[in-house]
Symmetry: C2
Subunit: 385 residues, 2 copies
Amino acid sequence: MKKCIKCDHVDGLKRAGFIRGKQRYYCRHCAIHFVYPDSEAKTKKNTHATIQDVAKYLGVSISTVSRALNDKTDINLETKKAILEAAKELDYHPNLLAKSLHDGKTNIIGVILPDVVHPFFARVLAGIQNIASKSQYNIIVCHSDEKNETEIKNIENLISFKVDGILMSHTKNMIDSNHVKNAIKKGIPVVQFDRVFDELDIPKVVSQDVKGSFDLVEHLLNQGCRKIAIMLGPKDLDISNQRLKGYLAALQHFGMEINPEYIVYSDISENDSKEAFNYFINLENPPDAIFTVFYSHSIEMMSIAKSAGIKIPEALAFVSYGDDSLVEFFEPSLTVFNQFPISMGETSMNILLDIIKFKTELSAKTHVLDGKLIIRNSSLRKSSN
Amino acid sequence: MKKCIKCDHVDGLKRAGFIRGKQRYYCRHCAIHFVYPDSEAKTKKNTHATIQDVAKYLGVSISTVSRALNDKTDINLETKKAILEAAKELDYHPNLLAKSLHDGKTNIIGVILPDVVHPFFARVLAGIQNIASKSQYNIIVCHSDEKNETEIKNIENLISFKVDGILMSHTKNMIDSNHVKNAIKKGIPVVQFDRVFDELDIPKVVSQDVKGSFDLVEHLLNQGCRKIAIMLGPKDLDISNQRLKGYLAALQHFGMEINPEYIVYSDISENDSKEAFNYFINLENPPDAIFTVFYSHSIEMMSIAKSAGIKIPEALAFVSYGDDSLVEFFEPSLTVFNQFPISMGETSMNILLDIIKFKTELSAKTHVLDGKLIIRNSSLRKSSN
DNA sequence: CTGAAAGCGCTAACAG
DNA sequence: CTGTTAGCGCTTTCAG
């Protein structure tokens, strides 16, 4: 309760406008006008001003300040104006931690990426950020760095941060999803993208992995290739199976035989492409086309092939999945199935926000994003198309 | 104060071990052993267990739980064990918001990047993450997307989050640093990297921009090039000046004349490289070497040059700054001055952590990271080197 | 229209 | 060794 600065009486006190932004009071007993003396608030350096500082500074209560700052209706316009000015004066910034603690939501989304450097994931992240910044959400980026233990720790961490939701793509050899179930049990909505766990009953956003492979293989067949080898990603990844499925489907659909020798997996390690290339080329019956799941593999293989004097695409064609705007500048330019990772990020984030906003039950729906076959010189043997 | 479950007496009560993980009590009045009935804690779904839940569950006080969880010494080992088990049982995760609110530090570092997709910044981010994950820090990534207003908002946002520090690289045309000063005034340590503001009195981490340009130009001169053009980044960027400085220094050092026509700036927009290339090539006295600050510009220009039948490097050599492992696979492979962005991220983060840890005054020291000239075919006219 | 007070989850100082 | 309590900054009843 406010007291008169002179007589300490608490009754005869009433507000009497503002003076230099500060609440002025009038005491009937003493018949004086006065303002409360400045608190130290304003001079405090190296520290964050709080709602309290603003309140003291003006001689009003913290709830009044809170109301002004949050644009509530039940507040005197003059008071509000003074508070807003004072807040600016003291360079007040709300403490989001306190706010979050109070209302049980943080406006933070946790994003777990296996590899920040990979252009694909970097683009997905950009897409996520696009939506986030529009919707006032913040992003905590966790880098699992393709390590299972790190991914598990990341989830624990995000749970501790009480994030409002999680967007994730798994490490290349994650085979267990208990850590994700943990988060879900706590009511944190999770959306998976690209590398997903089929067994989890949550939304998933993937690209047309079956169709992409199908289209690439179909294109190669159209170009006259008959011995098409494929270098997949890690065997544990669901996405590898999807892509293999498309490859097999296309071959079967066009009545081609399947040669198990032409199918290899990669663990995304240093010399993968070199080894795979040597393996392929030294087969008794070497392929006339190589389909790699990562475009960097194709690029590296093409480089080896060229220096070995192998004609591309005549003797050996190359196709891949692709995400980088520069792939068209390699020599020869690379045919890819483009997945539009930015829109994958945007879609995932939109779905997550929907769930948060409407408290939708997590529907396990899988969203398949359209991709596009982009034909370039690494596979173009006929001028027809 | 605990009461006997039967007689409500508060005196004759004492602990008597644990039973199925729960604190057991003995009441002298009633001569009975008992445990307090389960709170609802365990059955609560869709919610985060708190320290309170654990306390109730075991019938101990919250401070005891806190002590157990924080590995304090003054606690009975048996009690501690029971608490730890109960915490696991209830799937307790500490609430980092509450913790942060209490002790005034968040263990969050804010990172502001102008472009997440650019391989350079993606790598810097990876470097930052490397150190962060080792030091138990979390990263909030803000994407300014090359927009000044967004960068300013990002800072405000990070201030509100009470982050422990900020790592940032400015947008390409940021000319004012008041937003950064704001954060600094509040005692938030800020470290700038790559695109820095010289006027700010804080640590900066940059690559050898002067030396890089010098080395590239020197190399071109060694190769017999005499008319070296340069395509810089945005004019407002300090880094553009640094790189121009190196270019000019090399030319002067080797007694070459400087032709202002050979110096252009880029605003990193869609058709930049095409326009610049056409401009250069149509000069009365066109250059015999082009030095671009972004390797993507060189790649695109080389592509145009090749299709125009211009021989690289004989008629026109190319060099650039570079960050991507794939640049060696372009045809011809590109000579670059490599900046090692990952170590830039690591260094920046280490410096920031040092400041946080030792409350070092922000020394305005500029840390220049070593880069390395990597000579490839785009500029190699003589077999000598 | 404004103020007082409770509570979000946690830690630490202070008693016992 | 353990419990009580205050307080971090904020919002939100509930009273005036």
